[in-house]
């Protein structure tokens, strides 16, 4: 029992405060599409937008607290901006001019309306739609978990699958949702998603390279 408590404490340190994903969902994710577009406009060679976004989020994940961030959107753009500048300095191949341009943190400053503040206008409707586009068993497992609220173990029994297979379906469903979100909340078929990702990489690496 003692060990369990210890393990839980360790896990809590790794994951940070429990409220943060929710804060992130409300205050950061709604601006991801805008951040992506803004990064795409930067005249920086070899800039991997996905990397910059992940690194920016890492800064938010590791921050001691987030409730002291007055304007999460401005903060997000500042962090991303400083990472872009750092990358360019590190690459040491661009002219001073380019760095000067980038010194201007010219992030779009129009205030989002409360409607835009929500992750999307009709969150529930969109969730219903994206779940509907998931492939076969993944969809079934995801619905049982997220709509019916069953535990993974019970889903495994019900679908006649192993627990680890159900876990894989849940992970896949979550990725489906996340990919759909990257595309601005418009469900796309898997194939076109991969193609888009290929195009997004300026350095010739693709999303199809061997993983782990």
């Amino acid at each position: 029992m003692q060990d369990r408590t210890k393990a839980n404490e360790k896990l809590a340190t790794l994951l940070g405060d429990a409220e943060r994903p929710h804060w992130f969902l409300r205050h950061i994710l709604p601006h991801e599409a805008m951040l992506r577009r803004w990064l795409a406009r930067k005249r920086a060679p070899d800039l991997d937008i996905d990397d910059i976004i992940q690194e920016s989020y890492a800064v938010l994940a590791k921050r001691e607290r987030v409730d002291d961030i007055v304007d999460p959107r401005a903060y997000l753009f500042q962090v991303a901006h400083s990472l872009v500048v750092r990358n360019i300095r590190r690459a040491r191949i661009v002219s001073i001019q380019a760095v000067d341009d980038l010194e201007l943190c010219d992030y779009p400053d129009e205030a989002p309306t409360p409607e835009q503040n929500a992750i999307a206008r009709d969150e529930l409707q969109r969730l219903a739609e994206v779940i509907a586009t998931m492939p076969g068993q993944t969809r079934e497992a995801f619905i049982l978990r997220r709509v019916r609220g069953m535990r993974q173990r019970d889903i495994a029994a019900r679908m006649g699958l192993s627990e680890s297979t159900v876990e894989k379906h849940i992970a896949r469903g979550l990725r489906w949702l996340a990919d759909w979100f990257v595309d601005g909340g418009k469900p796309v078929a898997e194939t076109s998603k991969k193609m888009r990702r290929k195009q997004r990489r300026p350095d010739g690496r693709t999303g199809n390279q061997p993983e782990r």
Binding site: R4, A7, Y57, L127, A128, L177
Partner: protein
Amino acid sequence: MAERETSQSVDRAAADWVARLDRAPLSDEDIEQLEQWLAGDPRRHGALLRARAMWDYSDMGSALGPQYDPASFERKTSQIPEEKSPPQVTGRGRRPLAWLGAMAASVILTLSLTLTVEMPKAYATTLGQIQLVPLDDGSTITLNTATEVSVQYQDRQRRVRLSHGEAYFEVTADPNRPFVVEVDERRVHASKAAFVVRKLADTHTEVIVQSGHIELSASPDDAARTTLAANSRASLPPSAVKGNILVDRIAPDQLLRDLAWRQGKLAFQGETLAMAASAFARYSDVHIVVADPALAREPVTGLFVANDPAGFSRAVAQVFDAKLERTETEIVLTRTY
């Protein structure tokens, strides 16, 4: 350094971890692995936070209700392509959807052949339930807790009757068939609009418009209509009293908080604890009783799960240093000092 891991692969691993965390408590070995994984690349912390946030988002899936039928949403997305999706989508990726569309079309054909006389269809939710009802024309109705509506689509009119409760309507335009909501003797006429109609036991019936506009008539045969624009609210006293529709403005952020129930949540920003407690009463048999008048006046701010009065009470007890006692039907909050 070896070939740098792609950000896609980082995202994939992050999703795997969220699924693992959801499956069961992590073993010591798992925790060790998670620690090592996180330490291996700074991007992984960010990807994990994002994946956990998306997981949080999917939590509102419970608000889709047990009747959620993905097939009806497949049809909607494939049958009625909005202008957003380019029509010239190339073959390979889209084929499954096109196929579903063809199948759905045949289903619709069968339906229209067999259902020449449209019967009203009833939808109802029980206490604490929320249900999203997609309609054939692409409109949707979201039913809040303890709500009953009946839907009847006719050639000249799309009719919905709200017997009691609260419903959120998102109406698609159809110039030939106005969308009409009947509540008491009143009529709400809409074309393309999003609005709420609320008919609760102890207060006046209310109509709140989020986008577009609607028209209100006091009785079925009344030609005089009151127009209600986005971000406004009409309060409708019993219709025996004439000419008394009260209209006022409602701030967009207040409106969004009012609509948090669609995600199965209740949002408060400075409401008193007493008001919050009565808001929860609509969603559960278990009622929150605030025994101390000073405590009842404390302001509450936050987003809470609507059908979990116990969770809310625990949070309140912590913040206000209150004592919490539970019986089968009540949660009593009192000051400890």
